[in-house]
């Protein structure tokens, strides 16, 4: 308080009247909400204007192809799901060893969209994100804020080979949107129907190759006091995946493209209808364990893997790792490709739905874009990929990593076998994830599997979702060919 020493001055200064103080208080109070949030407000600030000025880079060479600056701390937000986050931490340790002074900070998250939404808007997204899980960010909303990752694929890996030459065929397709390679899907997922090798051996059963065989096996299961299939309420659409796989094998690419491009009547296709019909027969025969629509999905899966109340479960290859702690001893999990509808399908019986999952993205506005890319490059090294397959019992998109014994996992061996048997007959489809349809499809599938819906109801309601999205101009469509 300077007035303590300059008392004369204070006499000259006009007294604050009650009105002026009150007014000042009011102005302040009124200005606070308009001033403060403008800086922090959802869309008021933003770092968009700085997006083009790349972070000060280090020197680019074969050991540091993206020019990551020295002493960088790479900020990675990783989906903490079936695979955990420790494989990225492992890669982070490798990165720290390659670039003395730089480190990786891995933050686990299960709510990617809610957690990162303010950071995307605020212009300070992380350097690397594993945009996966039920709460992932829809790709059509952030596509133009992501780096094209083609330069990673063309860079040499840590061992010196060009990364493109070390990857399986077709693994870049799921992360390519239009002409932009925006997401690097790290884990190779094989979709199929999974069963217990030991249980089948003991009973002399063989895993079915067609839906008719599956139905016959259902009768066998019933005799043994078991069910053929079971499901959990959040995972009812695994049976939709299975049905679409069978239909694509039956009818070929035309089925897939109609669904992917949201064509009218795509769900009424003959191959899909034939699959739905025989599924309905199996449901009506009572070969599905009842009550799935009220059962939490991992609890349901444990009824298959631990209690062995059902013989088969359709899923992606994450199932082994997901149920690791709840699988009966000597279960010997094995898989077969999804069933064919008839004996003469358009694609061979070995044709396989396989795709790369766990999409890693590098936001363009990240503090260290080079750091995010460098961490991905390290993850694609032989050392990091081997670590992943060994600890997670799942293949990555890097080939020639899994040894013949599959690190002791029958499921991993079975995946490698299915992949090599399929050869080039590998297909995938993305429309459910691209347009975020799963949530809406779940209730429909739960009712269908419960036996409460006819094939006609199922078709009509699934078509209604497709049509609504096709006719909504506010949704960006991604043409698939």
């Amino acid at each position: 308080m300077t007035s303590n020493f300059t008392t004369d001055q204070s006499n000259i200064t006009p007294q604050p009247s009650r009105r002026s103080v009150l007014r000042a208080v009011m102005y302040t109070a009124a200005a606070v909400p308009f001033g403060l949030p403008l800086a922090a407000c959802a869309t008021g600030g933003g770092g968009g204007e700085e997006a083009t000025s790349a972070a000060p880079g280090g020197e680019m060479d074969a050991k540091n192809p993206f020019g990551m600056a020295e002493n960088t701390t790479v900020d990675a937000v990783i989906f903490d799901g079936g695979y955990g986050v420790d494989y990225v931490e492992f890669a982070g340790t490798v990165l720290a060893g390659l670039h003395a002074g730089s480190t990786v900070k891995v933050s686990p998250s299960t709510q990617i969209a809610t957690e990162l939404q303010p950071r995307f808007v605020g212009g300070n997204p992380p350097d690397l994100v594993d945009n996966s899980g039920a709460q992932s960010i829809g790709f059509n909303t952030i596509l133009d804020q992501l780096e094209d990752l083609t330069d990673i694929i063309d860079a040499p890996n840590v061992e010196g080979t060009t990364i493109r030459d070390t990857l399986y065929e077709g693994v870049l397709a799921p992360g390519t949107y239009g002409d932009k390679f925006a997401a690097l899907n790290y884990v190779l997922t094989v979709y199929g129907v999974w069963y217990s090798g030991s249980l089948f051996d003991k009973n002399g059963w063989t895993p079915p190759a067609t839906w008719e065989e599956a139905k016959a096996l259902g009768a066998e299961a019933k005799k043994a006091g078991k069910y053929l299939f079971l499901w959990g309420t959040e995972a009812a659409t695994y049976y939709q995946t299975l049905a679409i796989e069978s239909a694509i094998k039956e009818g070929g690419d035309e089925v897939r493209l109609a669904l992917e491009n949201l064509k009218p009547d795509c769900w009424s296709n003959d191959s899909l209808q034939a699959t739905f019909t025989i599924m309905k027969e199996i449901i009506d025969a009572g070969y599905f364990k009842p009550g799935g629509s009220g059962t939490q999905f991992t609890a349901a899966q444990a009824q298959w893997s631990n209690k062995q109340e059902a013989l088969l479960y359709p899923s992606g290859s994450w199932i082994e790792n997901e149920m690791k702690d709840q699988t009966a001893s000597d279960f010997q999990m094995k898989g077969v490709p999804s069933f064919s509808v008839t004996a003469s399908p358009a694609m061979p019986a070995t044709a396989l739905h396989s795709t790369a999952g766990e999409p890693f993205i590098v936001p363009s506005q990240a503090k260290s874009v080079a750091g995010g890319k460098e961490l991905l490059r390290v993850m694609l090294s032989k050392e990091a990929a081997t670590n992943f397959s060994k600890t997670k019992l799942a293949p990555t998109i890097v080939k020639d990593i899994v040894p013949a014994d599959g690190f002791g996992s029958t499921a991993l061996v079975s995946q490698t076998e299915m992949l090599s048997a399929a050869g080039t007959d590998i297909f995938t489809f993305n429309f459910v994830n691209t347009y975020g349809m799963n949530q809406e499809q779940l209730p429909i599938w739960n009712s269908f599997l419960d036996g409460k819906k006819s094939v006609a109801d199922l078709t009509k309601e699934l078509q209604a979702i497709t049509d609504r999205i096709a006719n909504d101009d506010t949704i960006d469509k991604i043409e698939v060919s």
Binding site: S10, N11, T13, V25, P37, T114, D144, S293
Partner: protein
């Protein structure tokens, strides 16, 4: 205000007093602007007002503004689209369905909770023996404590717990029912059938709230002088008659408040439905507005449209509150001017 100038005059108004309040000499005319007064205003008026504006009003204004845009939620760019979001909203069958479900919850949850809570409260306070002192049923203290237990458990834990209890294959409910020989409940999915999903969800919410509202009503009934009950009893009024003609009219303001609180909870309900039926229930029969809003914002990346849903939710809630007030007024409740 008027008391403060007096207080100010007590203080020495000496010129240049080192630690004196305010700056410089104090003049008698207005004289109210001591440090006390200003700090009082800042702390007790300015600060709460600022907090209220920043954390309550400003988000409202923001949401109302974004409701007029096509903001995706992940960029800094958006266009103003006017009322287009609201016209889409009215034709969106998913949202209309969600509003319908929310209204069902909003109608039944408060009603059931209050009827049960009120019954218990009356039994515990005045429902005891017909002779002697007015008191509750035997062991009322025990019931009072026990019935509050569910309210102490966080909503998400209540949801998860009931989901396990209602599990079709390993749940307690079906275990007891099949144990009693009711074989049709073998693997019966309480949360997976259109006919049972909503009633069961309501049951879980009611279960969670009855204890608290019972306590609220007990406090209200304790405030009613026991002479009134004694007089009624001497006049020959039975338990039903006292409950209906004395207890209820005397605590109707509490009932109205409880009704509005419960209505607001029931119109939101996000945590419970998300725990019990995260995908919206069979045929979306338990999908509520807040769930659809969350899905639209974060899975579909349409924050502008989701904000419009938020505004619609606010309107539904306000209409609900207005309805409760009107019904209470029409039924002869307290008017603005006093007891009528």
């Amino acid at each position: 205000m008027t008391a403060i100038p007096g207080a100010g005059q007590v203080l020495p108004a000496g010129e240049g007093a080192p630690a004196g309040p305010g700056r410089g000499p104090r003049r008698g005319r207005l004289g109210g602007w001591s440090f006390d007064t200003v700090s009082f205003f800042v702390v007790f008026l300015g600060l709460p007002l600022a907090l209220f504006l920043v954390f309550v009003i400003w988000p409202f204004v923001q949401a109302a503004f974004y409701a007029l845009t096509n903001w995706s939620g992940f960029t800094t760019e958006f266009d103003i689209v006017g009322l287009a979001n609201f016209t889409t909203l009215l034709q969106d069958p998913r949202f209309v369905n969600a509003v319908g479900n929310s209204v069902m919850f909003g109608l039944f949850i408060p009603l059931i909770t209050i009827v049960i809570a009120l019954t218990f409260a009356i039994l515990i306070t005045v429902g005891g023996a017909g002779r002697g002192q007015i008191r509750g049923v035997r062991g009322s203290g025990f019931y009072r404590v026990v019935s509050l237990f569910p309210y102490v458990i966080p909503a998400i834990a209540v949801g998860i717990m009931w989901r396990l209890i209602l599990d079709p294959s390993n749940g307690l409910v079906n275990g007891i029912l099949t144990g009693l020989g009711l074989d049709r409940f073998q693997s019966f999915a309480w949360l997976g059938n259109v006919g049972t999903a909503m009633p069961v969800t309501m049951f879980v919410v009611v279960w969670g709230f009855v204890g608290f509202y019972m306590l609220l009503f007990i406090a209200a009934i304790k405030g009613v002088p026991s002479e009134i009950y004694e007089a009624a009893r001497i006049d020959g009024a039975g338990r039903w008659r006292t409950s209906w003609s004395i207890t209820l009219p005397l605590i109707r303001d509490n009932v109205q408040t409880a009704y509005i609180y419960l209505g607001i909870i029931a119109l939101d309900l996000f945590v419970y439905v998300q725990a019990l039926n995260p995908q919206g229930g069979p045929d979306n029969s338990t999908l509520v507005m807040s769930q659809q809003l969350f899905r639209t914002a974060f899975t579909e990346g349409k924050f502008g449209y989701a904000s419009a849903m938020g505004v619609a939710m606010a309107i539904v809630t306000l209409v609900f509150a207005a309805l409760v007030f009107t019904v209470n007024r029409l039924a002869g409740g307290r008017s603005e001017r006093g007891r009528g």
